[in-house]
């Protein structure tokens, strides 16, 4: 079920987005600076924004889901349990897994940004979707939560997951790496080979690559493994 971008372009004011490439089944990391076009890619990939030119093929992708950076936008329930139900999920199970149990009847507006993001990502990652797009999933989360989200992304067994982020440390194991540079989508290829071609790689990964120690993946565990190899 690949997601294919064929000569896609989109223009808004002075900004121009262009993309060509095939997103195969697996986890894809799209890295890029703020304003480079990651969110535009997310919107076009999810089919919520129509490109100005070109075609996006969604072969056999029946359901796609986009998680926006700010969880407030997804809120349609007044209480926590109403919000969870609006995603078609069981509030008891979901609130338990997001460490918000006992607060089902609380007003959702009392949650902090971090708690709301936790609840929102809990809902999104519990939903079945052939194409899941996470726009800045790690923003507003502490290290512990980032680790939980990384684990849950890694646990997904099927479909395409696209993570658009500029997170530098807490990253899940991925299959493919892409870069957004000045509005253009660039493929670095499949991991681990992609790590050597990843020009926007976090500094600690870049330094490892420069020393000839290419980590097996980009997760903190894989990077730590390569770092330990240096010490040996």
């Amino acid at each position: 079920m690949p997601l294919t971008f064929e000569d896609v372009s989109y223009t808004r004011d002075q900004f121009r987005f262009t993309a060509n490439g095939i997103f195969e089944e697996g986890v894809h990391l799209v890295s890029g600076k703020v304003g480079s076009g990651k969110s535009t890619l997310a919107l076009i990939a999810s089919g919520l924004v129509r490109p100005g030119a070109g075609v996006v093929h969604r072969n056999q992708i029946r359901k796609s889901l986009l998680s926006m950076q700010f969880p407030e936008y997804h809120t349609t329930g007044i209480t926590l349990q109403e919000e969870v139900r609006s995603w078609g999920l069981d509030p008891e199970v979901l609130l338990e897994s997001t460490r918000l149990s006992g607060r089902a009847k609380q007003d959702i507006s009392v949650l902090s940004r971090g708690e709301l993001k936790r609840l929102h990502l809990g809902c999104v990652l519990s939903c079945e979707a052939d194409l899941l797009i996470l726009d800045e999933p790690f923003s507003a989360l502490d290290c512990r939560e980032k680790r939980v989200i990384c684990r849950r992304i890694a646990e997904r067994s099927h479909g395409i997951v696209i993570i658009c982020t500029h997170e530098q440390t807490w990253l899940p194991p991925v299959d493919f790496i892409w870069e957004m540079q000045n509005g253009s989508l660039i493929s670095c290829g499949r991991v681990p080979g992609a790590i050597t071609r990843w020009s926007l790689a976090p500094r600690h990964i870049r330094e490892l690559v420069e020393q000839g120690l290419v980590p097996g993946n980009i997760s903190p565990e894989a990077v730590m493994g390569a770092t330990c190899g240096t010490r040996e």
Binding site: L48, E72, G77
Partner: protein, 215 residues
């Protein structure tokens, strides 16, 4: 129009002309047709909402006082001008114009105007993102979702206001400030301003009145 002072003046003059008379509204509409980006501005989602409101009030007005058509024409032109003004606005323009107009006393009003414009932009972004979220959940916008959605609008604005206040405090703002605005009007700007004055003049003093006076 490059000069925001002239653009704001033109919008005010044409709006007054359109409000005063049908002739003024017709001329203001013709002027609007000449403005760059005129059709881009009417594609905004808010345009449909405001246009619907005008239609409703016009229909009520037509049945009660018989002035519905006149109201519809005049208010539609004013709406088109307002949408153009909103689309053509660039951040910082109100600030510069306010300081140019009122000197140091214009600093605060300019700052407030800029913040208000920013809030309007944020509201537009918020509403577009909420529509995306509702579509994804396959939830129609109804009474049950209206309360949390409006709540989200309000909470987001309060959060942004807090952030903005923090930012101003961190930068040492207490009150007042200095700004040296500069403007670069072109020939077209002056021409646009003169035409707007003529339209306002015609709206205030209909052409037939001038001929009657000449007789």
């Amino acid at each position: 129009m490059r000069d925001p002072r002239i653009r704001i003046f033109v919008i005010i003059a044409l709006s007054v002309a359109a409000f005063i008379s049908i002739a003024g509204a017709a001329l203001a509409f013709l002027y609007w047709l000449y403005l760059p980006g005129r059709f881009r501005c009417i594609r905004r989602p808010a345009a449909v909402l405001f246009f619907s409101m005008i239609i409703v009030v016009s229909v009520i007005s037509e049945f009660t006082s018989g002035n519905g058509l006149s109201y519809f024409i005049r208010m539609t032109v004013i709406l088109l001008l307002a949408l153009y003004a909103y689309t053509a606005y660039a951040p910082g323009e109100f600030f510069r114009v306010s300081v140019w107009l009122f000197g140091r006393r214009g600093f605060e009003p300019g700052l407030i105007a800029e913040m208000s414009m920013e809030a309007l932009n944020d509201l537009e972004d918020d509403s577009s993102n909420i529509r995306i979220a509702l579509r994804q959940k396959e939830v129609p916008l109804g009474f049950s979702t209206l309360v949390p959605v409006i709540g989200m609008f309000v909470l987001n604005q309060i959060r942004r206001a807090y952030d903005q206040a923090d930012l101003l405090t961190v930068r040492g703002y207490t009150n007042g400030g200095t700004l040296c605005p500069d403007f670069h009007p072109g020939i077209r700007d002056y021409f646009s301003g003169i035409v707007a004055i003529c339209i306002l003049f015609i709206a205030i003093f209909p052409v037939r009145d001038i001929f009657i006076l000449l007789h």
